[in-house]
Each structure stands twice: as C-alpha cells, then as structure tokens.
C-alpha cells in the first residue's frame, strides 16, 4: 500500500510551482464549464446522483489530500471527520438549526477532534499512523452505535422541512439539479481553499515534512505543529461534505458515514486520481463513483460486495501500472505525445 501512496515526483509539486500560466487557467476554466454543463447535458436523476456523490466525496478527498497527499500522513480514518459532519448536521437540523450553521459547527468540531487524534499519533510514521487512524475511527463507530441520543445502530433521520429552498437545503425530490449545484459550490470552495493553503509557506512545509522529517526540522519546521495544523484543516474540510451528505440522503447511520469502507473510499479516490495533486480528487471521485453506481445499477443482483471488488482491482491496478494515478497517467501520455518539450526529463537538464 505504501508504494501506491508514494506520489509521482513530477506531479506533486506542481501545486507550488510559481504563477498560474495560461495553461492552468484554461484548464481550470474548462473544468468548471464542464462541471456546470454536466446536469444540463445529462438531465437524468441517475446522472445527477452520480455527480452529487462524486462532488461530495471529491470534497472529502480534497481534505484527505491535505494530510495524506501533501503531509504524507496517510489516514484511513477520514470517515471520522465525514461522520462528525454528518451527525452534527443531523442533530442540529433536528434541533431546528439552519443546515448551513451545522456545516460550520461540524467543521470546527472535526478540526478539534483531528487535533486530539493527531496529538498522540503525530509521532507515528507510515503504516503505523494509518493503522492508528483505522483503530480510532472504528472505536468511534462502535461508540456511536451504542449511544442512545445518536440513534444507535439505526442512526438518525432528518426531518422534512416545511418549505423547500436553499435556506433549508431541501428541494423537490424529482429534480436533483439544485443539490448538484450546492455540491459543486461546496467542492469549488474546498478546492480553492486547499490550493490557496498549499501555495503558501504552510504548503511548502507540509511537503517538506512528507519528504523528510529530519531535513524539515533542520530548516526550522516544527514537524508536529505542521501535522496538527494540516490535520485540523483536513478534518474541517472533510466534515462539510459529511453534513451535506446527511442533508442529501436524509439519514445518517454509523456504517454509512463512519465505516471503514468510507475511509477507504475517500483515500482511494485521492490515490486513484493522483496522490498529492490538485486535480486528483475530482478525477478519482468521478471515476470511482461512476463505476460504483453503474455496477450497482447494472449488476445489482450480485449485491454490495461488487464495489469492494472494484476497490481491490483499482488498488492493484494503480500500484502496478501508474502510482501517480490518473494525473500521472495523463502526464505520461502527454509526454509521449508532445515529447520532452514541456518539461525536461530528469537527467537531461544540463546543457
């Protein structure tokens, strides 16, 4: 698994390479246009559902990427933050709060929990850290399953509000397009926040910690502080899609918002798209959610385990074929098509 999560060097630091050239701006504009056009081009409930879920989990993966991709702390516990967001929204909305307020509260709570979890685990490296994150998340899931006011195993249902609209985040169930645009807005905000953070000193320090903790400390980086801050940011970003998910499906229960499956799914999305790349979460989420929903609808008779089969196959494929994920693959194809013109290949730099 560690091999999978070693980022392809060329793809990684693009996030911090200076100034956005026209190519980047054009790429971003095109992506945004495609995302806006999607529900109009494919006006089915099935397609809208895929889009909503893809953007929701892409947002969670943006959060994961800050800690796992850029700081090198590979977490299999991102569901913890997603779940905190989901339960906060469920409880808040049941108590009559605005869903938007619950997103903020969930986000702050998740950041706090992230710091609490990171405090003792920040010294752990590689898979030791990953195992610890699994353990903590499983413990929380078992706790929640046994707490009365969190609905135990059957979870919490969200009430149907009196009127639909953006304020209550409730829309006509026949048309999922409004949900899609809320999800898109959420993703764009999270993505921009992540990209902005990574461009500055914090992002550079995070990558330094990922690459070499001793060398990072030697240039004055407090490794622990960077990990704590990145964990808090990662958690706060991942909690928002959790809250949105609760509003979208109107039900939260332990396995669906705190389960190990969800943690793996979020990590896999980032890995599949390209660890430590800005485009990774979006590409990975769209690919994985499409495969998941498509197989679920086409091969539903085989039951739920088919998506696990897909996870397994994708992990093997990414590890063997392209550790850089979809972004790495695209770069490889780009290099083959356009030669070494864009970026001199390693070893040929000297005249």
């Amino acid at each position: 698994m560690t091999a999978t999560l070693t980022p392809a060097p060329e793809s990684v630091t693009q996030a911090v390479r200076s100034g956005p050239p026209w190519r980047t701006v054009a790429g971003l504009a095109l992506t945004l246009i495609l995302l806006i056009a999607y529900p109009f081009a494919l006006p089915t409930v099935f397609a809208a559902n895929i889009g909503i879920l893809a953007l929701t989990f892409a947002t969670a993966a943006v959060g994961w990427n800050l800690l796992g991709g850029y700081t090198g702390q590979v977490s299999f516990g991102q569901a913890l933050f997603f779940g905190i967001g989901a339960y906060t929204t469920a409880l808040g909305v049941r108590a009559g709060w605005s869903p938007w307020l619950t997103f903020v509260v969930g986000s702050v709570l998740a950041a706090g929990v992230a710091v609490l979890v990171m405090w003792p685990t920040s010294r752990l490296r590689n898979h030791y850290f990953s195992i610890a994150t699994i353990a903590v998340t499983q413990i929380v899931m078992i706790l929640v399953t046994n707490i009365e006011w969190l609905g135990r195993a059957s979870g919490l249902e969200l009430p149907i509000p009196d009127h639909n609209g953006l304020a209550t985040l409730s829309f006509n169930p026949r048309d999922k397009t409004p949900y899609y645009f809320v999800a898109l807005g959420m993703f764009v905000v999270a993505w921009v926040a992540g990209a902005w953070l990574l461009r500055g000193r914090l992002g550079v320090y995070a990558m330094a910690v990922r690459d070499d903790q001793e060398a990072a400390a030697a240039i004055g980086v407090s490794v622990r502080q960077v990990k704590l801050v990145m964990a808090a940011l990662s958690g706060s970003i991942a909690a928002v899609p959790g809250g949105f998910f609760a509003m979208y499906v109107s039900l939260v229960d332990p396995p669906s918002v705190l389960g190990l499956n969800l943690s793996i799914q979020i990590a896999l999305i980032a890995v599949l798209g390209g660890v430590g790349t800005l485009a990774g979460p979006l590409l990975g989420a769209w690919t994985l959610i499409f495969l998941q929903e498509y197989t679920r609808s086409e091969l539903s008779s085989t039951g739920r385990s088919l998506d696990l089969l897909i996870y397994g196959a994708l992990i093997v494929l990414v590890t063997l074929v392209e550790p850089g994920g979809i972004v790495g693959l695209a770069q490889r194809i780009g290099r083959r098509l356009f030669g070494a013109a864009r970026r001199p290949r390693p070893g040929k730099g000297k005249p």
């Binding site: 060097p9 990558m207 001793e214 060398a215 400390a217 030697a218 004055g220 980086v221 070893g347 730099g349």
Partner: protein, 253 residues
Amino acid sequence: MSLVSVSGMTKKFGGLVAVNDVDLSVEEGEIVGLIGPNGAGKSTLFSMVAGDQRPTSGRMTFLDREVTGWAPHVAARSGVGRTFQLMRGFPTMTVRENVRAAAHLRHRSRASAARAADSVIDELGLQDVADRLAATLTAASRKQLEVARALATEPRLLLLDEVLSGLTPTESRQSVETIRGLQRRGLTIIMVEHVLEVIMGLCERVVVLHHGSKLSEGTPAEVVADPAVIEAYLGSGRRKTPTSEPQSGREAK
C-alpha cells in the same frame, strides 16, 4: 563571546559510549574542524549540537543561553544551519523549491523567500540545476544543495558534515572556495571531515575525537604533529593483521 559551547558532553547508546565528556567552545567567526577515525563520535556530537540527539549528560550553551537538549527546529530557528552526511532533503521538489522551503524560515511571503533562495543558489553555483528535481542530482550537486538549504535558513552557526568527501579534486577546490567565502561573510563554521588535507587548509583550529573522547586540539600543524593523533590514525605499527600481506599482494596484480 563564544557562540556555542559544550561542556562534559556525553552520549551513551546502551553500553556504548559514543561521545565521552567532550568540551568544546567556538568563537564567533571561527572555522573549527572536527576530525577523527570512523566511529570517533563526530557525527553524534554534531547531532547533539543540532538537536537531533539529546545528550546523556553535559551542558550546552548557544549565545550564552542554556540550550542543552533543544529540539532540531528550535536550533534552526535560533540560528544553527546544518547539512546531513547522507544527503537528505526533499526529493519531490526541485532544487529551487528545496532552497525556497529553507528560506521560508526567515521570509514569510513566497516572493521574498524566492528572492532569498535565488541568491543562495547563485552563491553556490547551482543555477544550472535549479529546476531539476533534487532526486536526480549528482552526488556533488546534492552536497551543494545540502549547503544551500542550510545557508538559506540564514544561520549564525553552520554545521557541515563531510560536505567535501567523495568529491573530485576540482569539485573539492570549488567547495573549499565557497566555504572560505562564507567565513569572510562572518559565518561561524564547525566542519566534520575525514580528509585531513582539506581541514588543514581551511581551519584555524582542529579538534580530534577518538573513541568518543577529545584526543587533541590545536592548530592544524600542532595536531598533525601530536603523537597521539598519529597513533590513532595510523595505529602503533605493531598490530599488523596476519592476512593483510598475502591478500594485498594478490590484489596488486
């Protein structure tokens, strides 16, 4: 005023005494050489000064402030820049980004860190490889990058751990010139080196470690004339290993 001073510095790993009761004081602006055979405790002493290892006992002051057992990032922030003997750094970043990361210690903004990094890159002659990934550099350039990262933190004390070994004579001469330049700028340097000749030409003062203890200290000329140093480096002459003669004879062909 001494910039850095250690007294009674001792480091034990289980039963092994890596550094044994070493005293060392370095004045501002000095270049001090730290030499000794393999396993003499040079690197361990270094990493205690840089904060990577906590001394078992002993005290250390930096600018007359008690700093025994400080954390490495605190050392760096206080003005200790260090290179690693086995080249480290950030392989997924380019040379320029490596140096810029280090420059961020004194420069909050991207633009200002980038300017500072570029001037360090120029000073060390790394312009040609500045946009290459650190992982793809030659050994000589990587050693330069080690120095560049340390310098970009704008230190008062620079700890150089074998930055000259393994270089070709030309590369080595260039590096010696670079170090002279740093000294002229008023930087205090402690350097660990295997190669005596290099130390001889650069340092005003040399400290010899052997089996973790300070064996000798003085000007380069004094130190190489010290019988204890000669014995530590060359052996007493009587302890010839029985296998050495026939084997070396065969290898000579």
